[in-house]
């Protein structure tokens, strides 16, 4: 019974808390078999609905299922396993906005945490979010840097767009 109550309390925090889209920049990928290997590896990931590879732009565009539990870290690991370097990524994700240790974060169902950063041209966006959206479900798009500061640190995402 206690577990059920705990689940009912916690579940809303993760309701529809997922990565939705990832446009991952890839360095070093030069040829069709390279693209094919990356595409096949990404398609095998749970929750991946579609993958589009561009050799000329050096990107992998990944569309994920609404109920997926996929991690950006795993997507980047697959690219690394193919012998290429995953650089910054444009991502779209949704989840409940929370404040933790002074940072606005979104934790997705996979357990990955994204710390929202102020986009250079968007003054006061985070402050407005803190006031109006804390505790609410939001969908944002932004740019995630190539690496974390430490393995346990959240992914820093520079928010570029807020969806209603």
């Amino acid at each position: 019974m206690a577990r059920l109550i705990l689940f009912l309390l916690v579940a809303p925090l993760f309701a529809e808390a997922q990565l939705l889209e990832v446009k991952q920049t890839i360095y070093g990928m030069d040829c069709a078999p390279c693209a094919r290997g990356v595409e096949a590896s990404l398609k095998r990931l749970d929750g991946v609905q579609a993958v589009t590879i561009s050799l000329n732009n050096g990107t992998a565009e990944i569309r994920l299922a609404p109920d997926n539990r996929q991690r950006l870290g795993e997507i980047r690991q697959r690219i690394s396993d193919n012998g290429f370097s995953a650089k910054e990524a444009q991502v779209k994700l949704s989840g409940v906005l929370r404040e933790k240790e002074g940072k606005l974060i979104i934790e997705v169902e996979s357990g990955e945490v994204y710390a929202l950063q102020q986009f250079a041209d968007a003054k006061n966006v985070l402050e407005q979010l803190r006031k109006s959206k804390a505790g609410k479900h939001i969908t944002v798009a932004g740019v995630v840097a190539e690496a974390k500061s430490t393995p346990d640190a959240p992914w820093n995402i520079q928010v570029t767009q807020l969806f209603d």
């Binding site: 360095y27 069709a32 390279c34 693209a35 000329n56 012998g83």
Partner: protein
């Protein structure tokens, strides 16, 4: 029909194959398989000499332990042989005709410095066992081989330079001479084929291969009719589309200095068909 048979069998086998063959045909190159990826290449190779022609099928199985560490096994099926086979070395499928070879490739340096661009260096070590007792009248033993290749890949051009050495161990009083070699490969993707994946991806290469076989030892005596040097140059082409790949080309000697009385090489041809699962 006898000459068609290997080509037909090659076409058949290629249906079952997956491959790592996305580099040059004869020269050394740096790419290795992705982690957990397996590969199989099948090729038909002809070596034309002043004294006849050798023809064989070659097979290469590969597996990527990590994205930078690959193992491979190369075998062959001779179709036509010559009394004094040319001493050859080069790409993973270019070991001596008659050797079964196990290879380890370690891409120990990689710099993915931009979109579509890579600079990298790979070390290759291998060991081979002969499938025949004598080769050109010389009892043939096991061999060890090491090579190093560096270069860059991009969406427009490719350049690889590498070289290595193969040492044959003594067999009784006989020993095949060691073989130094080096290769230089320049690749170019024509503008028509720079369209994005999954459009057809074709590349043209100019490949050069220099080989310096040492003198053989027969009954403890250096054979005067062995060893020398050879420089070969030629065009090759690589095409990739969907699950299929095809590569092939020809090398012709522009320099040959062979000791004593040895058949001179006229041309070296190879065609590889690949299929990716």
């Amino acid at each position: 029909m006898k000459r068609l048979l290997p080509i037909l069998s090659l076409l058949f086998v290629s249906h079952l194959a997956l491959s790592s063959g996305h580099g040059p045909v004869f020269g050394l190159a740096t790419p290795t398989l992705g982690k957990g990826h397996a590969s199989f290449d099948v090729a038909i190779m002809s070596n034309r000499q002043s004294g006849g022609s050798a023809l064989m099928l070659k097979y290469l199985w590969g597996y990527g332990i990590t994205e930078n560490l690959q193992i491979a096994l190369s075998t062959h099926s001779p179709i036509e042989t010559v009394p004094l086979p040319t001493r050859t070395r080069g790409s993973l499928m270019m070991q001596a005709n008659g050797d079964i070879e196990g290879l380890v490739l370690w891409r120990f340096h990689r710099d993915d410095y931009d979109i579509g661009n890579r600079f990298e260096t790979t070390a290759i070590v291998s060991g081979s066992i002969p499938t025949e007792k004598k080769r050109g009248g010389v009892a043939v033993g096991n061999a060890l081989h090491a090579a190093l290749v560096t270069g860059y890949a991009s969406r427009v051009t490719y350049l690889w330079i590498g070289g290595g050495y193969q040492h044959y161990f003594k067999k009784g009083n006989d020993q095949l001479g060691g073989l130094w070699y080096g290769s230089l490969v320049f690749g170019w993707r024509p503008p028509l084929f720079r369209e994005d994946y999954p459009k057809p991806d074709w590349r043209l290469f100019i490949e050069s291969l220099a080989e310096f076989p040492g003198r053989n030892t027969v009954n403890g005596i250096k054979d005067p009719n062995s060893g020398g040097s050879r420089l070969l140059v030629g065009p090759t082409v690589l095409g990739l589309y969907g699950d299929w790949g095809i590569s092939g080309g020809v090398l012709v000697p522009i320099h040959q200095k062979l000791n004593g009385n040895q058949p001179s090489e006229k041309a070296r041809l190879m065609l590889t068909l690949t299929y990716w699962i």
